[in-house]
Symmetry: C4
Subunit: 282 residues, 4 copies
């Protein structure tokens, strides 16, 4: 409630408004910020379209100046009102905020650094901060838990895939050779990735019979082992969700997760109340 | 049974026949409707084939007139016999029914509005209404429950994907540039989507070494994170199906989950009531 | 054992050898059959390669005569020794056996029916009969149970996909039009399928901005809803496997599946012995 | 600890350092080996790039001599210090070690055997040995258990896919024919694989209406049955992970599955022994 601001120093008020959303003012600020970010991203994209750039180039440059000033101002404010400025500056979002301002300045000042302008798309990441403060967070959290749980398995998987594409690629290089467009092992590995991931651009394709036979193997492999990351993640996610749903705290020791049909707390052994729902009942 | 129609005003009879299928007449009506819709869709499609259109153009126009009249008639009837016409008109299917008639009239009257004709494919959606009244509904329901359950997670996923393609796309635009076909950031984002989703048309492909390296990353990313929506949906669906099978508490010991077709409690052995439906009966 | 053949009429012996594999002779017969089928398939394939055909055409024709005669002979034998020939002839495999002989004869006699030769690949299906008699059957059975369980859901899914591609296709036809290669609605639907299934041949690609925007939507859709059939099948398969593993028959009523931690039979209420392993334990 | 080497014959010390990683020296050795392997792989790849080869050809040849000598030396040492040299030589890694040396020698001595050089990529496999001695192993183990569990099902699946592509391919050959690029049945089967696995290079595409209709079927098939291997693997993996967590029976009531970190039986409340590892600890 805005009343909570009663007799609060400006700096703290700003801090609460800018860094939190649990106040109406904070909500308004975030919504506004979201819109400005979107708008600036739109400008960045349209500006890259030759035709549009020709007609509205100046307008876009003007707008870009506007957005950049705004973001610079915001960045300054954030540093000003944050209790521990240093901590903010070196935080992930602190870096993102800086990156969404610096390149624009650089490129606007020295034209030959135009390519820097693209760095402005990191502004996209700032949207996550706004999201961070929503119910979606808890959902994203599930996914993160599941991903963390499957991290090692995923690494093993990716390493196996890497080995596969390197060996497949090297073989294709020998079989097809430069005359069929497989100009080098790295190129052939790139092709192997394109094929294994079932993307299949078609810019390079095997021409020899042996090459096509091997390609068939690669495709079947890629088609089948997609099952592995999926299986890993699904199993982990199911776990994460199950953990979540079995919450019925123990009255004595407070252990808040138990088997779906537990009659006694599995930590302190005291009687439990039954849980209403049992997702993983047999 | 048709006997149920005994001494029932015409209007109500129509209502039951047109809006429900639990009567023989209703079933017949729906089957007929299904066939007409199919036929009209077939005409719409064939009519768009130049060669066929040349030979049967007039025939198709005639047929189209026929179908349109039929659907118009049906629409009128539905309004006439529905107890609360307004409610029907502004319902989803009311809109669909109207859309499957209007454009046809418009396009048939003023030829320059030919393109409107395509709107007739919304007739496809009307088939769902017929399906709505079948055992398939319960199955579709499972899927909907699972989708609803995973909605928020899916949103998080789609937002992450969006961020990925925007950033990947912007990078490719800088790396490859217009000279390699990446004419603008939006184009490059389009390419990033084509690649991340493993569609890989091949109309745009990276030519620089750095571009191919990044493309490799995008492809591996796309190949791996497909696991996320799959995992989400699978976990939710498994939940939905489990929930379905497991809700009849034991009267004596209160164990509240049992096999779908259990007659006795599996813990205390006392009699249970049977559950009506047994999705996973063994 | 071959002893089991002692004083058994020839016809029955043949029947057991040809239609079963639980005898050494039967095993030998099946292995032989498998090899012959493989060889004949190889000939069919190689024969279709122009270069090879030029050099070995006569040889292949000769071999084909041989295989056809063999299969014809086998077919005759099967009819001869089967207790109910009619039943066999009109069975699935009876038809397959006939189809693997007839076209060959037809094509070998009247050359203009060459295209019939391809029907010989149905011989491939005959391999399944041999497999039918192996441990793999039980595994295939799992998959079939799961598929049967998810049949309705799959139908709902396929119907939704059909609707999607029809509507997407029609829209693309209007947006891109013949000038961009989307010559008709059916063509556009074909393209929509190519895109939604993430195959992406690249023979047709959108050229307008709007078209590319819609294509992006189609690709994301296809990339996400692949989760649906996967989720359905996974959930069903997990069920099928769980059912399998919970077997501990009730001593009194013989009900052979129970909850993993059931103490009493859920059908007759009599005491149960505990099961050794509980895959779905909490 | 290196103290453990106190008064140990050189040969044994070497054995422990080279074949194990639980000593600091062993760790150092493995890290070094890993780096050398990486470097040699890099050289192999870069060497295949024409441009790079032109400039650094000699350097690479020199480096290659170096690496080969190193690996040869290592190979000799391994044989020397292994308690049962024969056992090592004929082990999988023994073969890999040899293969990572031999072809290099061969190709460096007789230039016409250049293509042998590619065999050096098998060095990639040697990295697995180093990994073999890490926590990742246990994770990889999960995957292997799941894969082994689903082996038979996968075979059934692959066989079905094979049958599908052969029959689809043969049909396409008849429908499209050589004039549309489907020059032979093997080629058409190759195309069927490209399409069924959703790779879709686009080098061959159907041109007839019938062909496109069939292609649509193939794509939908491929899009749907990807669910099968995924489902199989997911179910198996979920099993493997569950098994892991659930094996310590209650001494008093005998309930033989509990939460991974349960201290008391959740049914009778009596004390349990703790399990060592808790994969799914809440």
């Amino acid at each position: 409630m805005d009343d909570s601001f009663k007799g609060m120093p400006w700096r703290e008020r700003l801090y609460i408004i800018i860094f939190f959303t649990n106040t109406p003012a904070g909500k308004r600020f975030d919504t506004l910020l979201l819109l400005v970010i979107m708008a600036s991203l739109l400008v960045v994209m349209l500006d890259s379209v030759a035709a549009v750039n020709l007609r509205y180039g100046e307008l876009f440059t003007a707008l870009e100046w506007g957005f950049t000033t705004l973001f610079a101002l915001e960045y300054a404010l954030r540093i000003y009102c944050h209790p521990e400025p240093r901590k903010y500056i070196f935080s992930f979002y602190g870096a993102v905020d800086l990156l969404s301002v610096l390149p624009a300045f650089a490129a606007l000042l020295l034209p030959e650094a135009q390519f820097l302008l693209v760095i402005r798309v990191v502004r996209m990441l700032r949207i996550f901060r706004v999201l961070k403060l929503t119910p979606y967070l808890s959902q994203a959290n599930f996914l993160l838990v599941a991903l963390r749980g499957s991290k090692q398995k995923i690494v093993v998987f990716l390493f196996t895939v890497t080995t596969l594409v390197i060996i497949y690629g090297a073989l294709m290089y020998v079989i097809e050779g430069p005359e069929n467009g497989f100009t080098s092992i790295p190129m052939s590995i790139y092709w192997a990735v394109v094929t294994l991931t079932t993307v299949g651009f078609g810019d390079m394709v095997p021409h020899t019979v042996l090459g096509k036979a091997l390609a068939t193997m690669i495709m079947i492999t890629g088609y089948s082992i997609i099952a592995v990351p999926t299986g890993i993640f699904t199993a982990e996610l199911a776990n994460a969700m199950r953990q979540e749903t079995l919450e019925h705290p123990c009255p004595s020791c407070g252990k808040d997760h138990h088997e779906s049909n537990a009659a006694f707390c599995s930590r302190c052994g005291s009687q439990l109340f039954r849980s209403e729902r049992e997702p993983t009942a047999d």
